[in-house]
Each structure stands twice: as C-alpha cells, then as structure tokens.
Amino acid sequence: MGKAGRSRRSPRVSTCDTSIVTSHRILGTETEYGITVQNEAEFNPVLASSALINSYAGGRARIQWSFDEESPGRDARGFGFEDSMPSEIETGLVNVVLTNGARLYVDHAHPEYSTPECFEPREAALYEKAGEVIIARAAESAQMLLAAGQRMLIHKNNSDGKGNSYGSHENYLLTRELPFGEIVSHFTGFLVTRQIFTGSGKVGSENGRPATHYQITQRADFFEEEVGLETTLKRPIINTRDEPHADSAKYRRLHVIIGDANLSEVQTFLKLGSSSLILQALDDGALPEPVVLADPVAAVRTVSCDLSLRDLLALSNGRSLTAIQAQWQYLEWATKYANASDLPEVYGDVLRLWEEVLTDLELDPLRTADRLDWTAKLSILDAYAARDGLEWDDPKMRLLDLQYHDVAPARGLYHRVVASGRMQRLFTDEQVEHAVSNPPERTRAYFRGRCVGKFGSALVAANWDSLVFDIGEDSLKRVPMMEPLRGSKDRVGDLLDRSDTPADLLRALGGDDG
C-alpha cells in the first residue's frame, strides 16, 4: 500500500517539498444542524437525519465511510439501511462522501456536514457555506417523504434554548512539534476573547446558568472545563482529541469545539482566519507571551453576557483587560507574524477585516450588524421589540432567534437580512454552487472528490486519509492519503483526467498491491 502513496510523487506531478511544510495551515469545519419535523407525534431525530442524508443527490455518491483505516475490507460491506430502522448505534452507516470532498452523515441525532480539507480560511468559509446549501436541498428532498402537513426544518444553530447543545467544530492542522501545553497556555485566552466576533447570538441563558436577556454566543452556557477530551459533557475550552487524520508523527489536529455555527460568510472567514493565524504564529514560535486569564471558564460567560464589551477580565499576573483589548493584542502579534512570513495573500484580508471589526465593536457593537450574526440578530430583535412592544421573555423573541438560523432561504431570517442588502457577503451564488459539487484544488480533498465524481461506482469506502476501490479483483485496493497536500490538482489533476477507468487510475498511481 505504500507504493500508491510514493507513486504520487512521480516527477510529473511533484512540486517542491517545501509545500509539505505549509501543511500545517490546512483547516476545515464540522457542523451539526438542528433538525425537527413539525406535526410528527413520533418524531425521531435519528430517522429524520438519516432520511435527510439519504435524500441528497441519489445513490451516486453513497460510499461507505471507513472507520478503520488499517482494515478497510472489513468495513467495506454493503449498506442497505433503507430497509431497516437505523438506531443510534447504526448511524455510523449513514454516511455520504460528496463530489466536493466533504462528508455528510448522521452524528448522534443530527445531520452533520464536514467540509473537505481546505487550504486557507476563505476557502473553508466557502465550503462551509456550500454545506448549508447541501443540507437545505437535502431537507427539501426529504420533505417529499413526509406525510401531508408535516414539515422538516433545519437550523444551523447550536442549542435549543433548553439546555441541549450540538457542535460546530473547527479543525486546524498543526505540526507535531508544537507541545500541547503551549496550545493550552496561548490559545485559551484567544478562544475566550474571540467570542466578541465569533458569536451568533442567543436570547436568554440555559444549562442552569444565571438569567440574561441576550448573549453574544450560543455556546458559552455549556463550557465547564479548561482542558479535556469530552465534547458532550463538561465541555472544555481546549479539546484534547488528537486524531490528525494524517501522519501522526508529523501532525496534530487541533479540534476547536467552543465556536458557534455562523451564518455570516464574513464572520466565518474572520473566525477561521484569525484563529488560523494565531495558531500558525504559535506553531512558528512567534507569540511572545501568553495572555493567561485567572479564570478562563468563568470568563467564557462573562464575555458572552457583556454586550457592552467593557467588562474587565482578570489575568493571572494580577492585571486585567477587556476582551477587545486582548484581541487588539492578538491582532498586533498576528500582524507582526504575517509581515515576517510568506503567507498567502488572503491573510492580509483577514488582518484588515479583524481590525475593522474590532474598531467597530469598540465604537458601537451594532456597527458590525452587516458582518456579525450576533449583532445582526440583536438589531432585528431590538427593532421588533420596539415596534411591537415585546419584552425579552416574549416567545416571539425566542422564535426570531431560532428562525434566524433556518437554512431554508425563503424562511431563514439570516437569508432575509442578506436579501435586504443589510449584510455583506463574501461569495457569489455561483462560487457557492461550484463548491457544492467541486472539491478544493490544493489539498487531498481534490483527489477524493474527483474520485467520487468520476469513479464513484468503484469506490467502496473512504475516509479522510484513504480511499478503497473495488475494481473487480480478489482484493480491494486501498489508496492511502496521509499527506494532506498531496492529491491536489497540481499533482493528480492530469492523471485523473487521463484515466478512463478506476483500474487505469490505480495503475497510474502504482497502487496495484492494494
């Protein structure tokens, strides 16, 4: 199986090996969507999520996700779940690998979309937006399976307001050399204070937390630890899951679970771009000193509930600062790092946007309502409350909050706000549409997506770091993809174009030993 990996470094597709060094910039997101079927007494979110996934794009891309990279054959069994009632245990089987290199599946009781591996944060924001379109279309198709009077509604949010939360995770590839302790000491303060521009806004509080009218993030009520492995209980600010889906001797993947799902394209870009820059600076030893909060867990909620953005956060050195002041400091470090590094141009856009947003937040948070979900939502709520004389505890306020996140363009209030010209976009509909069907071109997601599109019928299993083909021979053929930058269009585009059959492709890759 090593042969296939080596052969992709054949002279015609190779680029210089320095490209491998920049692997640590690769990133992607996973989003769990809220799902509900109205007027269904027996509503089962697992069944509904399964129906949604299976309604997308017919059977062409139905390829099993392989959970065991070492023994793909064992997992490469058929998948006739449509005749059975999927239970939560079986939901691992409801998995689709898409032609854009993404993964669409049922996780717990939610439909989930993982972007393909992206080369930079604008691309990651684009593929996350493409996921919303995919989910919305799948829900529309699944609607046809429902009884008259029933409606499937999908929300890109993170909580039901009743103490149940589901995640929106970011993934950043880092070098293995970066000690985990460094991540904890440097990145915790960043994550706590970035909430001022990563929140999607929420009416009220939950999970036993003190009452508040409105807070910046959906998730702050759910964080109880500084560091830990959990994602469903006692959620930690820094999650220790260490599953790089790549060569683990070279890489680690930081799994960030504290973010909100954002509808705003600009905000998604800022969240991913600023975080990626800080992590790259940390990975390259360019962050001078950690901003160490005296009580980071308490600070998560302090920041989320402080709409004035003026509350001081105590530092362990006895000083204190506001979340905005901390972010100015991180921006300063990121700018210095970027100026001294050879980063893709897109990071210049990140720095400019970051600065504009901090400037506006400092003047008046509502000035960012054209870019950030929490202020966009707050301005709708303020205007509605003023017009109709509503109090914060009015169910209509909660409804406005929920419906902001509905992914159906006709119903979702985010979509209505964008259509009214009050909110900026980063992408055209055409760019999003392209990302719905086509993979990013600068990572191994290109190889995965193109193989699904061109040779989907011969693909029996896929996961982040391998593809398994059945070309009608005795054994299945596995193509490992342990280097996230190999499998890019530069490296394998021509080869994929020239191969008429999966057997041609495997021969060209030299992967005939499975």
């Binding site: 921006l331 600065e355 010209g421």
Partner: protein, 64 residues
C-alpha cells in the same frame, strides 16, 4: 497590555475587505433606518405562526 499603542498595529487600509464582497454590499446607516420597517414586514410574512407553540416544541438532542 492596556497601554499598548494601538496605532502601531493597524494593517494597511487601502484595500478594504468590502472590495472583495461579491454581491450586495451593505447600505449606509440612514438608509438602514428607513428600511428597517420594510425588513420587519418581510420577516412578519415568513415568521412561524404560533411563536409559543413553536418555541415550546423546539427540542433537540445534545450532540457532538
């Protein structure tokens, strides 16, 4: 940290992110105020009908 000089860290402003915005860009403040009522009316037309019922029935399982 609070006394750091903010001016030093401002990146160049010649190219704002808005220049990359592909479709509608946001409109100016005054116009927004005039148009907020139109937006609220549009939201009225798509908002779920029974707010209390809807909010009560919106229950998700935890995830992640």
């Amino acid at each position: 940290m609070g006394d750091r000089e903010r001016k030093q860290i401002r990146p160049e402003k010649d190219q704002s992110v808005e220049s990359d915005v592909a479709t509608e860009s946001a409109v100016e403040g005054e116009e927004l105020t005039d148009r907020i009522d139109d937006l609220l009316e549009e939201i009225d037309s798509v908002l779920e009908e029974n707010a209390e019922e809807f909010v009560k029935n919106y229950v998700q399982k935890g995830g992640e």
